[in-house]
Symmetry: C2
Amino acid sequence: MFFGKNLRPFSGRGKMCFRICFLLIMGLAVPADRVSFADPLPSWNEGQAKQALVEFVRTVTDRSNPNYVPPEQRVATFDNDGTLWSEQPMYFQGFFTFDRVKALAPKHPEWKEQQPFKAVLENDLKALAATGEKGSMQILMTAHAGVTTQEFEKIVKDWLTTAKHPRFRRPFTGLVYQPMLELLAYLRENGFKTYIVSGGGVEFMRPWTEKVYGIPPEQVVGSSIKMKFEIRDGKPVLTRMPDIDFIDDGPGKPVGIQKFIGRRPLAALGNSDGDLQMLQWTAAGEGRRFMLLVHHTDGEREWAYDRQSPIGRLDKALDEAQRRGWTVVDMKKEWKRIFPFQ
Amino acid sequence: MFFGKNLRPFSGRGKMCFRICFLLIMGLAVPADRVSFADPLPSWNEGQAKQALVEFVRTVTDRSNPNYVPPEQRVATFDNDGTLWSEQPMYFQGFFTFDRVKALAPKHPEWKEQQPFKAVLENDLKALAATGEKGSMQILMTAHAGVTTQEFEKIVKDWLTTAKHPRFRRPFTGLVYQPMLELLAYLRENGFKTYIVSGGGVEFMRPWTEKVYGIPPEQVVGSSIKMKFEIRDGKPVLTRMPDIDFIDDGPGKPVGIQKFIGRRPLAALGNSDGDLQMLQWTAAGEGRRFMLLVHHTDGEREWAYDRQSPIGRLDKALDEAQRRGWTVVDMKKEWKRIFPFQ
């Protein structure tokens, strides 16, 4: 419980009165944002989504409520692309993949004439698409395999310090959603363990999720390629192999949750049809559960897309959310701020 | 840091003096075992293993020490079979597997004449061995697949309440090592996150590790079979499929650690050659690390086995431990008590 119904400091006239009383009692000037009664979700407009979130958290953390859930079972799983950070005009891991192939190209002069590499070097998405799944997979493996886990971590970190998003001209990790950062912190303050459950590569995310989201590596579930333990020059290494190990997307998400967490989430948050099964799996648990979809409706501040989008399509999941009363966040209406820099 | 060198309450004359002073200061009679100065490892004899453990924990938790490690990086990985509980005369999951096949047999009258089932129903290990890896795999999958994750969890829990170990005539979860329970608690009190990294099935362990070891499901890494998300009678389920997904043993252990935890352990504890690579991987990290092997030397209170044992063979890892100065626990000498019931 954050504060009682009649003590909501940010619901109008009560706000100043409450804060003054509090400061008088404390006898010192505590900055408002350090007071735990402060609005934990300042970038969320007052609306159905915020209300549903706060009501859910109050319910499951209230010992006197029949839907109380002990802290160890408070698991919240967040999709990443389109839920915690942007995913347009393509998944950010796609930019990484292209840049990585380009960085490797000087050592492979033959790529200039050889597909699918030629397509990437020429930024020719059409030609790349023409190479089919086999071509895409080859590019993906070239960018992600053949190095040790330690080397790959460094490659990702280095890329993040230099690469910039084409529209916003900022590092990709700057394009995280401020309201979601607040929500992550709010859930953690209320005893939740926050997880990422993403179709993205787990080793692409782990190097930065702790710093950016406060989510440690062991709470990141994602897609993966195989690894091999080897002793190289007397030192043990894990080499990343050019084989898919696990695809953590769509029906793979509940599987990933069970594999890596072994508990059903209490709350699941996503933004696309790739999250539908995660939300279904969450909703099927006993007691109170919370399901949320971010609906990208703000073409000005971010992007507007849903049913027809090749990236982050939200179609079946939107229908199911409406049918079952899951929370749908209308970004344009409900988010006061989208990015921290805005 | 637990207590300074000159303040060790349990190292002789200082003990009573310290405790009396403490009680006087506090002004009330705090039970000795509630005082954080109490020996955190009472079932460990004073010896090299206990000393090494305490010294390691003091070092990495002492902010003034150059080898200080922040809490979020304090990961300790424990093998399960032979490290946290016994593994003789066969892995306890083997007993489960046999019992499960027998429980299913009434529905399969043909098994009476059909290998490898006949061998299991007749407790004929020789005949089972003759069916080779294919036969063993068939038995394993019969016992573990074809049900939902929820059904399997119940099957494991039910089995644990009824099955008894043939030698000790007690539930298998009674055969956990008291010194290791103390060590798990001691590490957690010092900010460590304790994980199981076992060759055993992850879904065979998760239903009981929290209760028995204080290790929650999300901190259990193990072998797994594939799962499939399905909607059954309108309800989503995860069905356990008869396909190996991941073998978390030997060189698979560092892979499992990277997959599931994404951090290199600070401490790794095992008892067999199946743990060698986990210890190598841990040892190869920067700064102070702690590697420990349990050596089963007590045929009376438990079992005595090492280099020649078909279960839990400890041969190459023992040589490497001796060569590299890893801690080897001589169970007979160093453990005051082995099982909680003893």
